[in-house]
Symmetry: D2
């Protein structure tokens, strides 16, 4: 199981055509390019995929497109992100049918005050019980209205036979999660960001779902190989570079900036869906200048 989660994943973005439809062809093109770049796989329908801006029907078509175009050895996690247990199960089952290898479960958060550890564990367990593929819980308070998963809760989740790992996109918590699940060697910890990828890989995690892989997949794969081969001086230097690139893109503005950087690097990026606004021409120019400064293209 862990082998399927070992390596770098793109939390793959969803391109749209000029009239605002999902650009399935563009998506397919991106997948092929990513497969060639050595990515281990994809998180479909995650935050970078603008999950919440897709209809349920579109979600399943996006997932299908990714699965049909991926490499034979590539792994697909599918973001199963709903506020209602019933909808999570219903849609999760559809995702299983389409061939997702794993489901990634973000906690519900609309009724934040009620989301105690017991309620969250029940939610994760209900979904994991009902679906036919293994699940990862997803710790990303920034996308869940401030509802985070404590190391203690993650450890409790690890006792469920069908919850096999955690994707952690929180800040400064990676090692505490790894320590909390040390006694569960089958439970996999995946970094959710370049910011905690180095820590994850060097302290027992298996891989990373890296937003940066959307626009610059090759260098993220390179970092993973350096870490795997324990070439630390080179890994540290490359990691530092990737953190700085990632900060430049993040600072320029979330998914819109990721997509702009994809366009700059020959991938199919395009504009995000409303309410997200695209970068302005000036913002794109500034970002391009920065990325050129990193020698990413000329």
């Amino acid at each position: 199981m862990e082998k399927k989660l070992t390596g770098v994943f793109a939390p793959i973005s969803t391109p749209f055509t000029h009239d605002g439809q999902v650009d399935y062809e563009g998506l397919a093109k991106n997948v092929k390019r990513y497969a060639a770049a050595g990515l281990k796989g994809y998180l479909a329908l995650g935050s970078n995929g603008e999950n919440k801006s897709l209809s349920n029907k579109e979600k399943l078509l996006v997932l299908e497109t990714i699965i049909q175009n991926k490499g034979a050895d590539q792994t697909v996690m599918s973001g199963c992100i709903f506020e209602s247990t019933a909808e999570s199960i219903e849609m999760g089952l559809e995702m299983c049918k389409r061939g997702a290898d794993f489901l990634t479960l973000l906690p519900p958060c609309y009724f934040k005050k009620q989301m105690t550890d017991d309620v969250l564990l029940r939610y994760f367990s209900d979904v994991a019980d009902a679906v036919s593929v293994p699940c990862l819980v997803y710790n990303a308070p920034q996308y869940a209205g401030g509802v985070g998963l404590s190391p203690k809760l993650i450890r409790r989740c690890a006792d469920h036979p069908n919850i096999v790992g955690v994707k952690d996109s929180s800040t400064g918590n990676m090692e505490n999660i790894l320590f909390a699940v040390k006694d569960k060697p089958g439970f996999t910890v995946v970094a959710g960001s370049v910011n905690n990828f180095f820590a994850a890989i060097t302290m027992g995690g298996s891989g990373g779902v890296l937003s940066l892989a959307n626009s610059f997949p090759e260098i993220t794969v390179e970092l993973f190989h350096l870490l795997e081969e324990k070439k630390y001086p080179e890994a540290i230097a490359l990691n530092t570079r990737l953190l700085e690139i990632n900060r430049a893109i993040g600072g320029a503005g979330g998914v819109a900036a990721v997509k702009a950087a994809m366009d700059m690097n020959g991938l199919v990026g395009g504009d995000p869906r409303l309410p997200l606004l695209p970068l302005t021409a000036e913002e794109k120019e500034a970002l391009e200048a920065k990325l050129k400064g990193f020698g990413l293209f000329s």
Copy 2:
């Protein structure tokens, strides 16, 4: 316009049958009881209505049920709460078709960091431009992942010809909102909670969407009348009592407690949908004892 928003509204809850289906008959019964109690109308599909636990199809059926069973003079606002502009417009148009008098718009929040005032104003304007009934913006950071609407942003919204009011469920902000829109006399301010209802009505607001009206509609209407008739000593005494009752229910646990109190008072409450858990038998007993202590039933 303001007249249609003058009075007490129930943010009406959605009852479910024992097998977890929407109980449309129970809902109809509740509406009739509320109409008889003197409520001015309903917020359909709000937080108390477990909006996020209903499919889009169910949402429209719930709205239809409310509209078909309401009194002739009653007003229906419909909660239009989606993360994507396109879905808000699509579903908002369906709600208009079903006869909603107003749409209530909660800000998107998944990409919280990107939700600047400019992005939010664009979102509200895009929806208000596209739909055929007037819109209220909805300030409830507790349900929007911490994304609140500042008095300044609300004032900017008030310049849009089809944004006619705000429902404010925030804490301690009511007067600042009223001051901010003082120069826009057509713009209506509605309290979103018993906690700011007294302040709203005495300082220029028009009405209130009161969770408490779900379980004890008569006393909320009574408070409104006392305020309308400027019977302040009686209003202050009743307001204090309602705040304490409201605190007892809120402290017992959100929507689940509202529904339990409805059951105790002869309305169709029932259990919430998962991930929300119902009150335990012990919690129900404790709540019942408290509510009896307030003399609400015997």
Copy 3:
């Protein structure tokens, strides 16, 4: 006891001379003016008094100056705000010697993570045990690094024989505190701001420590009398006006704006001590224009 806390208090500001020394003469002048205006008394050494910018020696001289110049019936609370239990006791005893009627205790907050309810109760109890005048606990998370006092903790404090009340400057919590201590009729609740003064007085509180009383004492006293006499229509109108004035001053910038408004109204305001910066000339002009707009002076 409660009688001594019934009415309006100024959280009196500390004027400084042009060379940055405490202006004790100016302070004495202000006290006489306030006494004539009908204030019930003072909170010396509170937040508006720039407590943290005074040396311990200056603190005691400021307290002495206030006590020597106050009216015979006026009450003086003294802000006893330190991070260490020992220093709170040592300085609290000095304040008692100078004639303070009450001590007001803000919770320590430097080690916020350790400030559990048990630790805070122990702190308040240790100080209240050691000093010779009754104590009020002070709920103002905005000045205590986010450390607030829950209604439950306040209720526990009320069991201490020498903790006789609470000053609440939090937002939207007034009624919950009043409900929590309802069974302790000797325990006094004082509003810490115009924002919760109306609620306090109408629901069982005794008075208010109002920043606004620093610059415009007469109208705050007038509001209290209207409330005492249950002249509610007039009280509501005046309260609304005061809230708007208070917002104008607060929005212009904290203590610096309070002091600027004092200067405009013939009191001795002056500049705050660094790190606080005074208002710029432009900011003062804008504030003056607003306050003139409220008809406060011409």
Copy 4:
């Protein structure tokens, strides 16, 4: 300058005797042990030193004791942590006289709302202008009521000729600070915790002020040497171990747990001053068992 900040520092704790006085002899003993362990120096009067629980007189005596007992090559930073600019300057000058090599400046935070970047820069500049030794700014929002220093503000501080570095104890921000000051090679970045020490040293920082050095100085020095010598596999293994030890102590309860661990390892720990409570006997036993489990002593 940077050389003096290269290595591991203890944010040295302040021992107290059973009757609550500062135990200067115990402090001297600890300093000698730390010097022998290879620590580069000390942060006197920091958070672990219970700065806020010492009188100003005690602060200076603590500083003197440390300076008189330190090794000839050891560096002493002195925590200059006050809410008022004047007191920071006055006490900062005293610290300079006693021989502090650097002052470490935490931002004021009582008037949090007023603490804009401009006000903070003015504060840091005023102090740095007035004192005779170089200053570091100290980014620790957890101890400053939530007032943090953004990378942008830190970069602005770096332009001041007498602000020569930053001590960063925030979470997940280390690389962003390093990137922000990359163009100021003389500006030194020091980690404030084991949590960001590895990142600091591998990406351009000079040293670390490590709470863990209070109880287990030798292993923190060992980690620094491994990093200096680029023995990364060993450094990663040891770093992981130290993070886990640090988590065990931190989880057991702040300064009280640090002191208990010091006692267990033959240093002079003792109890913290009130309001901090010592660990209970049970908590000490549990911590001791954990630390034995790490093989730190037998």
